[in-house]
């Protein structure tokens, strides 16, 4: 193991973390700020990826595809909010879980009906593909750098939206007392529709971007869903800064765990079982981090004390 490799892996961890934040960004808004447990977040992520892939293939333009991912995911968000989610804000978390679980089934099967069971083609456009050389001689994928930039931009945008604008304050107020905020003159239903659509659009956009370097297929959203919840909870619900920090923490821990644990076990085991044990442990690592964080800080790193 060389020093540059270690640096590169730390960079990879950061990058993975920002990517996690990107995947979680829509959920940060809908779950973190609005307080709605939306298991269908992964489905919206999938909708974005499929919309991007389909449009990019049909038109030949990746950029049109990206735009389509925003539009279709937002549309899906509005539809779902008006038809279903709206009735659930005042219900308990459990009804939200059941309803959005049902939505996963509907979205997955619906997508499969439309697009078939085979993965779709979606690839990074020519000008963004390939690697660039970073200072220190590390080769790094250009597209990943772009993802980092977009991730930070979205984090900044969300922070500003939630903490600096009146709309953001109203959203947070609505989370704690919907009745009161409307008794004071805010059309909270409309506001929440818009926010949900925005969350959906972010999910879809992330799906398109991340789908470009991963696979676009039915079911792609479910692992994302769990990860997104994990990072938000580690960071503390309601805190966008927390979600970002949580993402990066998970990204770095996961990447370094995958990389270092097998090496560590290799010190006193034969290589084959060392990698097996090391990677078994690595896959449990983020959950250990989460359990540890919550044990010592029951409301996450930046969560309000409930």
């Amino acid at each position: 193991m060389t020093f540059t490799l270690l640096i590169e892996q730390i960079l990879n961890g950061l990058q993975f973390g920002v990517m996690l934040f990107l995947m979680a960004s829509g959920l940060t808004l809908v779950f973190g700020v609005m307080g709605l447990i939306n298991l269908a977040h992964g489905s919206l992520y999938m909708v974005g990826a499929f919309a991007c892939a389909a449009v990019a293939t049909a038109t030949g333009s990746y950029w049109l595809g990206l735009a389509a991912s925003l539009v279709f995911a937002a549309l899906a968000g509005v539809l779902v909010e008006l038809a279903i989610i709206r009735k659930l804000y005042t219900r308990g978390h459990l009804d939200q879980v059941l309803a959005t679980f049902a939505l996963i089934l509907v979205f997955s099967e619906g997508t499969r009906w439309l697009f078939g069971s085979f993965p779709l083609y979606l690839n990074v456009p020519e000008i963004l593909s390939g690697a660039v050389v970073l200072p220190g001689g590390i080769q790094y994928s250009l597209f990943r750098l772009l993802i980092i930039a977009v991730g930070f931009a979205i984090a900044g945008g969300l922070l500003a939206l939630i903490h600096k604008t009146r709309i953001g304050i109203q959203i947070r107020a609505g989370e704690s007392d919907r009745e009161m905020i409307s008794a004071l003159g805010v059309d909270i239903n409309k506001l929440y529709t818009i926010v949900f659509a925005l969350g959906a659009a972010l999910a879809g956009f992330a799906g398109a971007l991340v789908g470009s370097i991963q696979s676009v297929q039915v079911g792609m959203g479910e692992p994302v869903l769990i990860l997104a919840f994990v990072v938000i909870v580690i960071g503390g619900i309601g805190s966008i800064k927390g979600a970002l920090v949580g993402s990066i923490l998970v990204g770095v821990v996961d990447t370094l765990g995958r990389f270092l644990l097998p090496i560590l076990f290799g010190a006193f085991m034969d290589p084959s079982s060392a990698t097996a044990v090391g990677s078994a442990l690595a896959s449990m690592l983020i959950y250990m981090v989460m359990a540890g964080v919550l044990f010592f800080r029951p409301t996450g790193l930046f969560g309000l004390n409930a």
Binding site: R166, I169, Q170, R172, S176, E179, I181, A183, L184, G185
Partner: protein, 229 residues
Amino acid sequence: MNPLLSLKDVTAFYGVSQALFGVNITLNQGEVVALMGRNGMGKTTTIHTICRLLPHSDGIITFKGTDISTLPSYKIAQMGVGLVPEGRRCFPNLTVKENLIATARKGEWELMSVIDLFPRLGEREGQFANTLSGGEQQMLAIGRALMTNPTLLILDEATEGLAPVVRQEIWAAVSTLKHAGLSILIVDKSLKELLRIADKCVLLEKGESVWAGVAKELTPALCDRYLGV
């Protein structure tokens, strides 16, 4: 002259159980009306029905001449009804300042004037509302309602939990507001102050308005019968 607010034979339900059986109130522009009755007689329910926080109701409620009984609550608020709810209900996850500006509308009440009225809120500006003392929360709730610059202010037990000096300040403020022409519907346990400031009183008994009249006419006999004092 048309009354600013009028309730005619209003009934209301919590689920299947009826809480209001016929409430009548008229409140004219610039008037202060006190809503009185023992615990559990329907004062808060009446207020919630006006603001449509309790959707299962019947009867006619007009505000500024418009029937508001089927409008969503945010529209009613936008028409100029400002509510200080029972139990304060500040937004716990918002800071004091955010609580105040979240629902503010243009008008003479602004952040500065509210802080002038309650300097304590200025000192606690960045603190989350759920960590405020009870009285501080009460001030916040009043400030929040004022910042919507209402035509009609509804105060439901707005002096509950306040220190006597502050309570006096609030009564003074209410009376200033009254003289500035603001109309007020008020529920409070302090009979003395109510009678001093109210133009009219409405007595509630088991969800029905049983007596309405000017404050002077509220005889000890009535007080004994309907208020238990």
